[in-house]
């Protein structure tokens, strides 16, 4: 149902500042208008079942072409399906006038209104494009271009003053400076090889062999604050997973870590685990 050209047709001259580039269609409304036009549907009586099918078909096709595409299409697909569902539902025998009125209303009305509105925008955009093209053919003396200062009202001229050095100008200036900075590295910082997953594995192995270890003992091979912190995080993670338990005899005393398997022996020794009410 979707013409084969859809997947291949790309416009190389289009604005490319956007990370997500969709083939041909500007958005879901654009696609819907296209489908309505292509099938000569009546905009005021859209066959929702057909158009939802075609819409989803195109979405599937798009997913194959570009893995990462805008969620706007999905939102519209959901809207279409919702309308479809509402049209299939039988009328409720409700006493409430409100519900009756809701039932009488065409579920498609809101979508149609949006499509008409978008259609108007498309016409306006096309009109503007033609205006610009026509204006492009007229040349004034260059002096005018350099010192173009129309007598506009105060609000506009003040806003323009601000607009002259916009936040984008500032940002691009910042980007330039940062770029220059990147070109001359001050020092090389080696990436920390001490990772949380590594540490988790290490502690699990040690617990397996020793059954019970103090926090300090676990940190005996740490060479920096970061490594101590990572060890601590690894312990927290083990507790969260239920693979280990911690206990502390008194305040400020050594923190002991025991593997989940030796938990029973710990309880036998009469040492209360912290999560059992200590």
């Amino acid at each position: 149902m979707i013409p084969a050209t859809l997947e291949t047709a790309k416009e190389p001259e289009r604005f490319t500042g956007h990370a997500i580039r969709l083939p041909v269609f500007e958005g879901p409304l654009d696609l819907l208008l296209y489908l309505i036009r292509a099938h000569k549907y009546d905009i005021f009586d859209i066959p929702i079942r057909h158009i939802t099918g075609q819409f989803v078909e195109y979405l599937t096709l798009m997913r194959e072409v570009e893995a990462d595409y805008a969620g706007d299409f999905l939102v519209t697909a959901a809207t279409l399906m919702q309308i479809k569902a509402r049209m299939l539902l039988p009328k409720t025998q409700s006493q409430s006038e409100e519900v009756m009125a809701q039932d009488e209303a065409d579920p498609r009305a809101e979508l149609v209104e949006r499509l008409l509105e978008y259609g108007r925008i498309r016409v306006a955009a096309e009109e503007l494009r033609q205006k610009r093209e026509a204006r492009d053919d007229l040349f004034a003396r260059p002096l005018e271009a350099a010192k173009f200062q129309p007598d506009f009202d105060a609000e506009l001229s003040q806003a323009l003053l601000l607009a002259e050095v916009s936040s984008f100008d500032l940002l691009s200036a910042l980007r330039r400076v940062l770029h220059r900075m990147e070109e001359r590295p001050v020092a090389l910082v080696r990436r920390e090889a001490f990772t949380l997953p590594d540490r988790l594995r290490g502690i699990t192995v040690r617990l397996y062999h020793s059954g019970e270890l103090s926090f300090e003992a676990l940190c005996d091979d740490c060479q920096s604050r970061l490594e101590v912190v990572v060890t601590f995080l690894a312990i927290l993670e083990l507790i969260r997973r239920g693979q280990a338990r911690v206990r502390q005899l008194t305040l400020f005393d050594e923190i002991w870590l025991e593997g989940a398997r030796s938990q029973a022996s710990g309880a036998r020794n009469g040492v209360p685990a912290p999560d059992s009410g200590a």
């Binding site: 978008y118 204006r135 506009l156 916009s166």
Partner: protein, 211 residues
């Protein structure tokens, strides 16, 4: 005094009445010499003519220019100026190497929404287009065709965007009132449309049959 050329002979300049240039010519000179488009008010002030007469002279001048020569008189945002006629564009373009950025369809749509609905927020633009519009919006802001005019007094205080005078100039518009009027349904040419009420009625009947 016979050594003087005839034009400088005393009777030539003493007796002849001073030759006043025509108002049309004065206005032509002023517009040519101005470094920015000249407004009607400014022309009236400089020529000391009533604005209505200036307007009439401008019309006369425009018609005169249209008939002959390479220049035409146009009213742009901010006033009147001379520009080359469209048929000379290929030649002038070869002379000047100004490249105007191409605008994408998305950019034209965003521009159209702001032009007709200003002031609008980004969320309103997104809703009307049914798609996220940050990139074309930023592009237009960077090109100074749009500017953030104020903040809307709602949650998050989003920016309200408006078109700039550059927009009017680049699109050959005198003012926002000069924007083309939109026919509601021309967008859907070939889509075919029946009165909405009829369809609703038909559908209602079908439903009653179902029950």
């Amino acid at each position: 005094m016979e050594f003087l050329p005839p034009t400088l002979a005393p009777d030539a300049w003493l007796l002849a009445p001073p030759k006043m240039p025509s108002p049309t010519d004065i206005i032509e000179a002023l517009i040519f010499a101005s470094h920015a488009p000249l407004s009607l008010e400014r022309l009236a002030a400089v020529t000391q003519m009533p604005p209505e007469s200036v307007a009439a002279e401008l019309d006369a001048l425009r018609e005169e220019k249209e008939a002959v020569g390479a220049l035409q008189l146009v009213e742009v945002a901010g006033g009147w100026q001379f520009v080359t006629k469209a048929e000379f564009a290929p030649f002038v373009r070869r002379l000047r190497d100004e490249k105007r950025a191409r605008l994408s369809r998305a950019a034209f749509e965003v521009l159209a929404i702001v032009a007709y609905r200003q002031p609008v927020t980004r969320a309103e633009i997104d809703a009307l287009r049914g798609v996220e519009s940050a990139a074309p919006l930023h592009f237009l802001l960077e090109r100074k065709l749009l500017f953030p005019a104020a903040r809307k007094d709602v949650a998050g205080r989003p920016w309200l965007y408006k078109t700039t005078p550059q927009f009017l100039d680049q699109f050959g518009l005198k003012s926002l009132e000069d924007l083309p009027e939109l026919d509601e349904f021309s967008a859907l040419e070939g889509v075919g449309g029946h009165p909405q009420t009829m369809n609703l009625f038909e559908r209602g009947e079908v439903r009653e049959d179902d029950e």
